[in-house]
């Protein structure tokens, strides 16, 4: 009996110790530890390639140090692997990466400033009225099969693929201005002109869309749209690809890897006039999950890996005596947020999507601000992202060139929350439970997608923070696809933690989210038949900012509109932003010419990377 009791005590002590270890909430952040070196975002002085003409051929000349040829770089992609290699059919990120390796666009973005710079084009100019874009192509550059790249290819790509609505029509749909599409016109063999019906600033970013070889794609484009959807898919033979990029596919083995080899016809050379790329092979392993990716990196099967916050401290401590180096690429371009359902309309059957009692809370801006002030972002960065992250308050990500820097961050402030709630008639009883004006207990569901450990952890901390205010939160992680169904189809949710991907260069991509009739206007989603029903005043202003922002041409003018949109979101809190994880990448030190860029990633100059001693 005594022994039994002893065991029970032992177990209790153990559990207590474990719990203590888990609760780091009150532990102050360590200063001057191994992490300190990581807080500095990489500073790059990337020498931009220049145009040179040799024997009538307009090459792009790399200004980075000259390297040695040969070798391979092994990277990875998580998930199922590419679904197509046709750059005009990509509806997922992996397919897009895999096909953009092979097809260059006319322009690309400067890895430092994010401004558009020529790539496949030699140069470009925009007319003073902001409607005409003139593109000059390189003379003498060739497709991988030796045929010249000319204006015909550019006109074909834009007119017969993109504007004709083949494949994924998203690029086309986003370019419809006043029901009109831009015009594309061949001036001569090496000059193309685009004309937009109105000045439309986001168009310049669209010019980084890949260009297709006309002699290969034209027969497919003439057949049906359904045929085009399967064209250059995963079962196409590697020798059938004709490409313009630095690397060409050599083999695709489902669920294992994609292997690329160097394109001998690539148009970039080094300062010794040797043709790039340096590497013979570029390999992407298809791995199922993050854990497997980490194991593969540690077993040296991978050369480069993007690390999660929890892994960084350990990697940092072994970095000095290892064969890899860590780079801090700054905040992620995605955003993570907490949102309430502001929907106050009825479904076709006459039933409210959201319980009318809850509607009153979520519609109340004091309630939303109170929730915002109770969220302890710093603590979340510390505990969930292991300190590798930064609190977020704006819809634009922290590395966005359009970020409104006047919107100041603030700390958790429960007193302010309570004050705001009191102002709107909420009160707490003796036990600290929160009730609204009419005496209804404040209780609602909080959803996120199960399996995403980061969001689940945030959910638990948000629940704790809100329960400090006396709210009752039922936290329910559910399967991703079911959650999206709730958000965009059935609208039967109260509060959710989600994330969205964004672009640090072009806020206009967010119009699906912010326009009041947008397809991802999640916090107040309207069905197509509802149009802009019951629009809130600040929603109306957001609509205006997005419309004006897209039509303005000067960066300074656009910045004004997008600053205002961030201000509205900052004060009205349709989305309560939480934090941005910081991207930390590890790459083997044997690779040289590494110029990591917070905007374009670590291997944006893959053709210049070589293996040194």
């Amino acid at each position: 009996m005594i022994r039994y009791g002893f065991r029970v005590i032992l177990v209790i002590i153990l559990v207590a110790l474990l719990l203590r270890a888990c609760l780091v909430k009150d532990v102050p952040p360590k200063t001057g530890t191994t992490k300190s070196g990581l807080t500095d975002i990489v500073n790059i002085d990337y020498p931009l390639p220049k145009n040179v003409t040799i024997n009538g051929v307009d090459y792009l000349q790399s200004q980075a140090p000259v390297g040695t040829f040969g070798g391979e770089l092994i990277s990875s992609t998580i998930g199922e692997g590419p679904k197509t290699f046709n750059p005009f059919n990509c509806k997922d990120n992996t397919s897009q990466i895999m096909s953009s390796i092979m097809y260059d666009g006319l322009l690309t973005s400067d890895p430092v400033s994010g401004q558009p710079v020529p790539k496949l084009a030699k140069s470009f100019s925009i007319s003073p009225d902001g409607k005409t874009y003139t593109i000059n192509l390189r003379h003498g550059v060739k497709w991988s099969d030796g045929k010249p790249i000319t204006a015909d290819d550019v006109v074909f790509t834009w007119r017969d693929i993109i504007f004709a609505g083949l494949g994924d029509t998203s690029t086309r749909d986003s370019l419809v201005i006043d029901d009109k599409l831009p015009q594309v016109r061949k001036i001569d063999n090496y000059t193309v002109e685009f004309t937009t019906p109105k000045p439309y600033a986001p168009f310049i970013r669209m010019l980084s869309t890949p260009i297709a070889p006309k002699h290969v794609f034209a027969p497919a484009a003439k057949k049906s749209a359904a045929y085009f959807d399967t064209f250059m898919g995963t079962t196409t033979k590697p020798e059938d690809f004709v490409i313009s990029g630095a690397f060409k596919i050599k083999e695709y083995i489902p669920a294992q890897r994609v292997v690329y080899v160097r394109n001998p016809n690539y148009y970039e050379i080094n300062t010794k006039d040797q043709k790039l790329p340096y590497l013979d092979k570029l390999i992407y392993l298809i791995v199922g999950d993050l854990n497997n990716e980490v194991l593969k990196f540690e077993a040296k099967e991978l050369d480069v890996i993007s690390l999660q916050g929890s892994k960084v401290a350990r990697y940092k401590s072994v970095e000095p005596h290892s064969d890899f180096k860590l780079y801090n690429l700054g905040p992620n371009t995605g955003t993570m947020y907490l949102s309430m359902n502001l929907n106050n309309r009825k479904d076709p059957k006459g039933k409210y999507y959201v319980d009318p009692i809850k509607q009153k809370w979520f519609q109340n801006e004091n309630f939303r601000r109170a929730v915002d002030y109770s969220v302890d972002r710093k603590n979340m960065v510390l505990n969930i992202a292991n300190g590798i992250g930064a609190p977020l308050f704006t819809p634009e990500s922290l590395n966005s060139i359009f970020l409104n820097k006047n919107l100041k961050p603030y700390d958790k402030n429960l007193n302010k929350s309570r004050e705001l709630l009191k102002k709107s008639g909420f009160y707490t009883d003796k036990k600290g439970k929160l009730y609204d004006k009419e005496g209804n207990r404040v209780e609602f569901d909080l959803y996120t997608n199960a399996g995403n450990t980061e969001r689940e952890a945030i959910g638990i901390m948000v629940k704790q923070d809100l329960e400090d205010l006396g709210m009752k939160v039922n936290f329910k992680p559910i399967e991703f696809n079911s959650l999206v169904n709730k958000l965009v189809s059935t609208f039967d949710w109260d509060m959710v933690i989600m994330g969205l991907t964004g672009s640090p260069l072009e806020p206009n991509g967010g119009k699906n989210v912010w326009l009041s009739d947008g397809r991802l206007h999640m916090f107040n989603m309207r069905t197509p038949s509802e149009g802009k029903a019951k629009i809130l005043p600040w929603e109306k202003e957001l609509d205006e900012m997005f419309t004006k922002g897209a039509l303005a041409t000067k960066f300074e003018d656009r910045k004004k509109y997008y600053d205002r949109y961030q201000e509205i979101v900052y004060s009205e809190k349709p989305f309560i932003y939480i934090y941005s994880p910081v991207i930390i990448v590890a790459i083997r030190t044997k690779f040289k010419n590494i110029y990591p860029s917070p905007l374009n990633g670590i291997t944006h100059n893959i053709e210049e990377i070589y293996i040194g001693e």
Partner: protein, 323 residues
């Protein structure tokens, strides 16, 4: 002749069974709140027109019963349809089935070659230290969950660097000679085979040992011993033949597991087999792919049982008399 009639009868019986299986699976998948287009819908750069186009292409705008009818019609004609990415399901399966078959057939072959003799030896040497040690080892084998064991072995591979971290071939596989290719695949197969082998060996050895003990305890074995037959002929001629009958039924199940038995292990080892494909398909409700795999599983199970029954008819005269 009797046997042939029996087989035909059995095959005809499977048809309503398959219809019921397909109906239940189809409706469960379609009625679950999983949105097959979720990923597209949540991508800000995908336009509503594209989403709508996808919905029509996948037939999601039609009532479920119509969707089922369409699926069943093409299934009966031997067309498995296309996946949600627009690839042919048959093509997808064709890519993966050989890999899974390679893994599972090696495992089944090994377990039977090792497990059955071990079971016999353990039974013959009942309650000796040898038997006890084997019992402990097989208990451990049965108790370890396969995915956990697989993760342990992966960590082992990382620490020692002796084995690859999953997969089936090395990145430079295409440039290898034939012998090199063979060795490369064998090298990648060691760990997954070891996991599956340990786990199924434990079950099989115990089953065989139990059967053998039952038989060794029966009257006719006692009689054979009393008659003065040599121990060898008692065990291997009289007891073993009878003890093998239940194993034949087991073999039928093993056949069903050929394509679906290794899913968890495949997933942990990132093995490019059916398991990973089907799991990913289920998660995004890729109906044609999931249905194809479910129907395949059902057919394999029915076939396995049928084969086992036929083998039993051949080996066991008692069943022949009954049928």
């Amino acid at each position: 002749m009797e046997a042939l009639k029996y087989i035909i009868k059995r095959i005809i019986q499977t048809i309503p069974l398959l219809i019921v299986v397909s109906l239940i699976s189809f409706f469960i998948i379609r009625l679950s709140p999983v949105d097959p287009l979720a990923e597209l819908k949540l991508n800000p750069s995908i336009s509503p027109v594209t989403v709508e186009k996808e919905r029509q292409r996948l037939g999601l705008d039609k009532p479920i019963i119509v969707q089922y009818g369409k699926w069943a019609y093409s299934f009966v004609r031997g067309d498995l349809g296309i996946t949600s990415n627009g690839e042919r399901v048959s093509q997808k399966l064709k890519e993966r089935i050989p890999n899974t078959l390679l893994l599972t057939s090696i495992v089944i072959l090994l377990t039977w070659l090792v497990g059955v003799p071990l079971g016999i030896i353990a039974a013959v040497n009942w309650k000796t230290p040898f038997d006890r040690i084997l019992t402990v080892l097989t208990s451990i084998g049965m108790a370890i969950p396969s995915f956990f064991f697989a993760v342990l072995l992966l960590l082992f591979a990382v620490k020692t660097g002796w084995f690859p971290i999953g997969g089936l071939t090395s990145p430079n596989f295409a440039d290898m000679s034939f012998g090199g290719k063979f060795l490369d695949i064998a090298y990648h197969l060691v760990l997954p085979v070891f996991v599956l082998f340990t786990i199924s060996l434990a079950g099989l050895q115990r089953q065989m040992r139990g059967n053998m003990l039952d038989v060794l305890d029966s009257d006719y074995v006692k009689f054979a011993r009393a008659k003065g037959l040599s121990e060898f002929s008692v065990v291997y001629k009289h007891a073993l033949r009878n003890a093998l009958n239940p194993m034949i039924t087991l073999l039928g199940f093993e056949f069903a597991g050929l394509l679906s038995g290794a899913a968890l292990t495949e997933y942990v080892f990132q093995y490019p087999g059916l398991g990973r494909l089907i799991l990913e398909a289920v998660l995004k409700s890729d109906i044609n792919l999931v249905m194809a795999s479910l129907m395949m599983g059902a057919v394999m199970l029915i076939l396995g049982n049928l084969i086992a029954d036929i083998l039993l008819i051949i080996t066991d005269p008692r069943i022949r008399v009954k049928s």
